[in-house]
């Protein structure tokens, strides 16, 4: 009968309501510890270097996924990065409409493998790939050593 009398209200059938309850605490890991402490305390963004493969990982990794060496050398990420891709979000993760559209970007850095996903601090109509941007951090006393210490990326020109 299910197929003949379709209903979108599951409560019309005999049922039991259940929650899948689970909360989590995630460790940042060995490489994450280096990255977030430098970000919080010194306002620096670090990449981990694989000398053998001649590449730097951002976010830093504890190991090279290619040659499988353990990485212990960290280098500064260049100040300016490039917006590789943008999106303007109109709904939040639950599908509810946002009061203001939000601009998000994937930012890459010259010579660095990987990049960061974060807010792009421009008006939606100014959001475009190719923008030259730099990171904007929260003030030192507001930083806690998480990705939220970054407020977002802003165009390099806006501060010059």
């Amino acid at each position: 009968m299910t197929f003949l009398e379709r209903t979108t209200d599951a409560r019309k059938f005999r049922h039991w309501e259940g929650d899948v309850e689970a909360d989590y605490i995630y460790t940042s890991g060995v490489a994450g510890e280096r990255f977030f402490v430098a970000l919080r305390d010194e306002g620096r963004m670090l990449a981990s270097r694989c000398a053998a493969c001649k590449l730097d990982y951002l976010p830093p990794r504890m190991f090279c996924e290619d040659c499988f060496a353990e990485l212990t050398e960290y280098v500064d990420v260049p100040r300016a990065g490039q917006v590789a891709a943008v999106t303007v979000a109109h709904v939040d993760r639950t599908g509810a409409k946002l009061s203001q559209p939000q601009v998000w970007a994937f930012v890459t850095f010259e010579g660095i493998r990987g990049g960061l996903f974060h807010r792009l601090l421009v008006a939606p109509k100014q959001a475009r790939a190719g923008l030259s941007v730099r990171v904007r951090l929260k003030p030192r006393n507001g930083r806690t050593g998480t990705i939220a210490d970054i407020e977002g990326f802003e165009p390099v020109r806006s501060r010059i």
Partner: protein, 387 residues
């Protein structure tokens, strides 16, 4: 079918909480296994990752999340999962990659980071039940094991102290294990019997608690082993796996039929018709002390109801006639579900190649069997290895 050997193994510390992320733990175990075999990631043709439900680590699509640490970057890579049975099953999956002739070298990496889940991974176990029949009653997983243990004790008249001897033996065996979380050289049967009651007859020290950890093994074809002149190898001579009824209420709580069927399959392949005579030592799955006894009987290494007697008589001690869990097992080393491969497949490899150090069985051993148990206490996976 290509003959397959284990040529390397590695594992991380097992701890209640490690700083390393899941992929960092995988890297450490994998690197150790590669180094021990004298290989690099470039030598690896294919990768199998074994890990329990995503909900423990709290990362959906955990197989994909762990792939870089597991050495899977740009390689044929598969995640397999059969609950706790993954501890042995992932090696079976790795075995068929090589036995089929598809690959010469396969890396098998198992991981669990159970400390992420708050306040306790029990909240994830709470959701493995049938949502209509069981979950409304809010059972704790331990309740059901307690009933299975009680049934086993009732049918065979087993005393609690004879079951506690398993916990004592394994926690003492683990003293020689560099990764152990729960080793205790001074533990007594009395300590177990006086520990907190969780769900009678299960007490705190009857159980292995959740852990963080990873382990890795490397499998290779006979050709590769010959060409590279690899000396430290143990051959996989039999594999078997089996699952029982989806309804736990439909299963035999006294005898693990699913283990017996998996074992018979593996023994037939390994040309073993008298397991008690032909198998020198065993690493059965021991998340609870009574499960080691249960599984010894399922593996046909003890008659029904006889395993507690063998334990009491010292037969299963490291220097006994049939050493059982010389690694220290889950009770002594820890229980990061799939990563227990380190004490099951890893220990067989280390024992059979004489690399078990302080845990080395003092007499010569040629054939070992390991077994894991999983899903909702219904899954058996068995591997027989020869030196």
């Amino acid at each position: 079918m290509t003959k397959v050997g284990v040529i390397g193994a590695g594992m991380t510390l097992f701890r209640r909480r490690l700083q390393e992320t899941g992929k960092e733990m995988c890297f450490e175990a994998t690197k150790m296994a590669l180094d021990s075999a004298g290989l690099t990631r470039a030598d690896v043709n294919m990768v199998v990752c074994g890990t329990a439900p995503d909900a423990f680590d709290g990362v959906a699509m955990k197989g994909e999340y762990l792939l870089d640490g597991s050495g899977g970057y740009r390689k044929p890579y598969t995640r397999v999962f059969t609950g706790g049975g993954t501890g042995v099953f992932s090696t079976i999956a790795g075995w068929w990659h090589v036995a089929s002739g598809l690959a010469d070298v396969v890396l098998v990496v198992n991981e669990e980071k159970m400390s992420s889940c708050q306040p306790h991974p029990q909240s994830v176990f709470a959701n493995i039940w049938d949502p209509i029949l069981d979950r409304p009653l809010k059972p704790n997983l331990v309740w059901i094991f307690a009933m299975e243990m009680n049934r086993y004790m009732t049918v065979y008249g087993v005393k609690k102290e004879d079951i506690a001897r398993v916990a004592v033996k394994n926690k003492r065996n683990a003293v020689g294990h560099p990764c152990a979380q729960l080793a205790d050289p001074n533990i007594t049967v009395d300590d177990v019997l006086k520990s907190e009651v969780m769900a009678w007859p299960v007490q705190r020290l009857d159980i292995s608690p959740p852990s963080d950890g990873a382990s890795a093994v490397i499998l290779a074809s006979e050709d590769f082993i010959r060409k590279r002149r690899i000396k430290d190898r143990a051959w996989i001579s039999g594999v078997g796996w089996c699952i029982d009824s989806t309804m736990w209420t439909d299963r035999d709580l006294v005898f693990p039929e699913y283990v017996a069927r998996a074992a018979k399959h593996a023994y037939k392949m390994a040309k073993i018709d008298e397991p008690r005579r032909q198998i020198d030592f065993a690493e059965p799955y021991d998340p609870f002390d009574y499960k080691e006894l249960h599984h010894l009987e399922g593996l046909l290494l003890a008659d029904k109801g006889e395993a507690p007697v063998l334990t009491r008589e010292g037969v299963t001690e490291r220097d006994g006639k049939l050493p059982v869990c010389p690694s220290g097992g889950l009770l002594g080393v820890g229980n990061p579900i799939a990563a227990t491969m380190g004490m099951k497949i890893g220990e067989l490899f280390w024992q059979l190649t004489g690399q078990a150090g302080k845990r080395q069985i003092p007499h010569e051993v040629h054939t070992g069997v390991s077994q894991a148990w999983g899903d909702l206490m219904q899954y058996g996976s068995v591997v027989v290895m020869k030196g």
